[in-house]
Amino acid sequence: MKTIFYISVILLLFAVAQWGIGCSKKDTDGNKLNLIQFPKPADWPDPVYDFASNPLSKEGVALGKKLFFDGRLSKDGNFPCVSCHQPFAAFATFEHDFSHGFNDQFTTRNAPGLFNLAWHSSFHHDGGITHLDLQPLAPITAPNEMAETVQGVLDKLNADADYQKQFAKVFGTPEISTANMTKALSQYMLMLVSSNSKYDLVKQGKAGFDVNEEAGYAIFQEKKCTTCHAEPLFTNLAFESNGLPLNPSLNDLGRMSITGNKADSLKFKVPSLRNVALTFPYMHDGRFWNLQDVYDHYNKTIPLSSVERSLLTEFLKTLTDEKLVNNQ
């Protein structure tokens, strides 16, 4: 009788095990996915990205990084995401007003740095893209950028057994779809959190500004730069016009080209000032090569003495995040 009891127990355990293996789609190769928590800095607002729709995992982030650096996402193999979004320039294009794309073409806007994207609900300088997952489709299909088709990218990736294995592990199916490819890219981009600058250490009480930086921070607040470049993201994420005249060779109307509303003419998304020392040239079309040009532009609305300019620059340098730049 005891034998029946033991057999029952064994069968019961077997049943439970079967249930686990047979019905779980996540672990096709038996390895567990290492889920990770989004590293939201203390005292920062809640991110807007819906992590429930795309749970972060160590493997997902690594897969996204591999895609971000993979030239096969472009038509001729020469233009991975990272060709325009370079880690050493805080994921902008270093020293370029416009970036290079397929067939010796240039982009028509300055590549923004990529960090703290989990707090953004619109993308591009005109906010035309409504979700981080949708963002990669624009450069992939733009004829002057990566010049590919979504189908072309999916075909190339699906022909690669290693990718299929990685996608199976992260998303439960080896077949690489538009949704899963873009979710993987999002996982990598979401983890580009810039919150380890000297400014952040000062805020955490782990470092102190020197006297010039301290004075520059005071000017930053007094001159109400914070209205648009609001802490801690150093952007209010809104669309504003800062008085830049239309560049007739580009005829870029900014936000108005998305909303069709005349009130949005020449409004562009406020860029973050984090890592500003690395993301020059500045403005949506990269028309200002350095901070002096920017101060000159603002001279009509926010006049600064040359001493104030120097002090403000000292403060802005404390927004550079070496950890972001080096943590590729």
Partner: protein, 264 residues
């Protein structure tokens, strides 16, 4: 004493055996019982026409505006399909919310879905994609951006695409390209289409039956209606906004039900 113990042990064993049987059996079963027994089938067959003839991509037609037009592409999204009950309320279909209809293939002009049984009068569907699906990340199935009906730089679906060639076009290659979409107010180009089913008044659809509705798409009405459109004045619409919205106002005139049949 020993015997009674054995009996108890025996009873427990049977219980445990029963337990694991119950546990293992339903664990991996597909939900077979999901289909509502009171469900009927609905099949909609679209028949694109131009100038009174069945549409053949690559043939030249005369438009009511007097212009000549050779269509090469005609596709559109339809979704939120519902039948109106005789009493008044709308009953939604129960399968995929969206379908991509494509004139290039006979099979892609037919959509099959299911709906609870009932007594129905009108058909309603959306020509376009609801605004929520335009802003909530990358969709799959018919709405996968890989289908080429998505604006990547200004997130949103192209609800309807009509492309071709016309000597009246003012752009290079005599091209005509109407990509109509946009979910942002005030230019939301998704149009609710409500169609009466003539001659049938109301009809009874019973569980297990298939209701087949034939719908003509009279493409000349793309150019006529609340917004008269000529190729000469607007050969191209490539962005969401006022022009796309204006063209979409003509869409309710495209469709008419020509036949309804119910098969057992």
């Amino acid at each position: 004493m020993y015997l009674s113990c054995v009996r108890i042990e025996n009873r427990y064993s049977v219980l445990i055996l029963l337990c694991w049987t119950l546990l293992i059996l339903p664990s991996c079963q597909k939900n077979i019982g999901d289909e509502n027994p009171a469900t009927a089938h609905l099949e909609i067959r679209f028949h694109p026409q131009l100038d009174g003839f069945p549409l053949e991509l690559g043939s030249t037609y005369q438009l009511p505006t007097g212009e000549s037009f050779e269509p090469t592409v005609f596709k559109f999204y339809t979704g939120n399909i519902a039948l109106q009950q005789n009493g008044g309320s709308l009953i939604s279909t129960t399968k995929d919310p969206y379908y991509l209809i494509n004139a290039a293939s006979t099979e892609e002009l037919i959509l099959r879905t299911s709906i609870p049984e009932g007594n129905y009068t009108n058909l309603e569907f959306l020509l376009g994609v609801d605004s929520a699906r335009n802003v909530s990340g990358v969709q799959s199935g018919a709405l996968d951006p890989v289908k080429g009906m998505f604006w990547t730089w200004n997130s949103g679906y192209i609800f309807a695409k009509l492309e071709g060639i016309s000597p009246q076009s003012t752009i290079q290659g005599d091209q005509v390209e109407y990509h109509v979409g946009g979910f942002r107010v005030p230019y939301n180009a998704a149009q609710k289409i409500r169609l009466a089913i003539p001659r049938y008044g109301n009809f009874q659809l019973k569980a297990g039956q298939t209701c087949i509705i034939d719908i003509d798409i009279n493409l000349e009405n793309w150019f006529t209606g609340p917004y008269p459109l000529t190729i000469a004045s607007h050969p191209v619409c490539m962005t969401p906004g006022e022009l796309a919205w204006n063209i979409s106002r003509n869409f309710s005139g495209l469709f008419s039900v020509t036949n309804l049949s119910i098969e057992e």
